[in-house]
Amino acid sequence: MSNNLEIEIKKPKLDLNYTSDKKPVHSDANPDVKPLPKVTIDGKTYEFRPGDTIMQVAERMKVHEEIPRYCYHPGMPIAGTCRMCTVEVEKAPKLMTSCSTPAADGMVVHTRSEKVLKSRTGVMDFLLTNHPLDCPVCDKAGECDLQDYNFEYGPSKSNFKEEKRVYVDATTKKLSDKITLNMNRCVHCERCVRFTDDVTKTNDLVMVNRGWHKELEATDPEKGLTNDYQGCLTDFCPVGALTMNDFRFKKRSWFLTKKASVCDRCSKGCNIEVHSDADIVYRYIPIFNEMVNGHWMCDEGRTSYNDFMNPMRVIAPLMKHEGEFHATSFETLLTDIKKHVREASSVELVVGTDATREEAALLKDKVPALFGKSMNVSYHNGFISSLAEDKKLDHMLRMTDKTPNTRGVEEQGLLALKNGEVTSDVVIFFRNGRAGIPKMKANQKVILWGVWTIDEVKNFPSQNVLAVIPGLATIEKAGSYKNADGIVQKFHPAITHRGSALSAHQVADVLKSLN
């Protein structure tokens, strides 16, 4: 796997069948020009990369507070229609939108002058005229751009005495199983339409009509939304118009603790932020990473926290006794397992490719010795049989390999399980809830280690499961994965595991203490 990652900054191409005009075309900027041009923002002068817009310069240089915006999003083409980001540029007759105006050498910009603040108040005034007072029942409250900007800039009183616009058929409209639309709340920034047009390229959203009764609809009303990145719509919708059904009415955003982690649903390894309260996860949202996932993540990964919050997940050491599973302590369980292992004629340790690099190293180098038996250690994927098969499922993020660390496990020196088939008497199978299950015989003695649900245990191909050693999920532990692009990503625990599971290293410590 090459580590030369080239991030292409793509120049907009003109596809002549169908021109997209939402991107103002700047003159070809030469990024290597010396000396770099300078722009003055709020009294301070900054050097900037030619081709950047005023807003991009302000963001790169972290010029105090963010310039407010609704329709601008760094991952989508520029629209310049919400008029919230307007700034005062000296020598320009009108206020200019900072999202679309290229910074020029010698330009002097004021982002908080009186004229600008008045304009922002004006925009807020207009957007709030038809916006329903839904905050008490709206999921977006607490993370809503409209609320935040109104607090900063908005009018404290509205003089709108007319009847608010109501979209009768679209007040609570399911655009798909995942997304609900409340059109009354929409501020017509059209980020969602630009997303489905230019990012996912599925064209499944459309804004019909014109003027004050523009309405968002699924392009084909019979099919609804069909793309695999619908959750992203709810990330960037600045108001509560598009909300995720998976999160609807579950938790108020201000109660959520936010910690970073890595998604383990496929080999892309999108960076995620885990939102939890009292160590119960309510949702994932993507974190921007230029090299890995950009601004987005797929729906499969987004809803994958449900696997770890599954009430059927095994979180206590289970030992089979007289045909039934019983919860017990780690010492008892491991002592029993050691007995089975030492008595066996051949033992195999299969590591699922969802193990972290540290776990893979531990399992290969230390664990056989701790059990006091030599074992054949190999890895198993279950989705692809060789790395060459790990291909992109679409032009964005999804990969065929549904485990996060195939490359990282292989890197530790492990070989793939031959033919995907387990041949020894006793098998210890370690996986973190993602890797597939290899072929087994009905009577092989199996010890399961890691993240498992009780249904998986009961329906295991071999009917002879002796024990389940519970392990920690990705979001509960520290570790690192090597993703499909060859990037090693380290992560820390995002929540504290509340069951009785232990990390692989802690289990190894218990084993050591038993010797």
Binding site: Y18, N203, D204, V206, V208, R210, T219, D220
Partner: protein, 175 residues
Amino acid sequence: MALSEKIKKTINGIRHQFPTEQALLIPLLHEIQNDHGWVSLDAMKEAGEFLNLPLSKVREVASFYTMFKLHPQGKVDVQICTNISCWLNGADKLVSCAEKRLGVHAGQTTKDSCFTLTQVECLASCGTAPAIMMNEDYYENVTEAQLVELINQAEKDVATNKTVGKSTRQDGVWP
């Protein structure tokens, strides 16, 4: 089949005049509107396929412009301008008169699907206000009596299957 062979032939005949296929969308929708009296979702799907455009682009355009109707209309669209110059010359009275004669409010279609009454914006005929359009034809300096007569004549023509209001259209000649 919303797109007849004739429409396809007409559009293919003007393809060479435009640098992109998307530019043909508005002429195509005009032809569909003329053929069927309205643009249905199926027609939009066929239009998108014919021009290699995603359905969302077709829907955006069809719903943006006033002349593309998204619901079935009557055979004769009686369009009365109610903008400033026509209003100053009594357009409101014309609308009331038409409403009484047709038995529907502005924006609705008669039960026999013969007429649709719509209020439209300035037709650029202000010197001869009030002005109306019946389908494609302009009528200017219209009095209430003339309006009733026009409607009566149109009704007779529809009953005998004559095309109403397209007096300058020639079959197969573009535009």
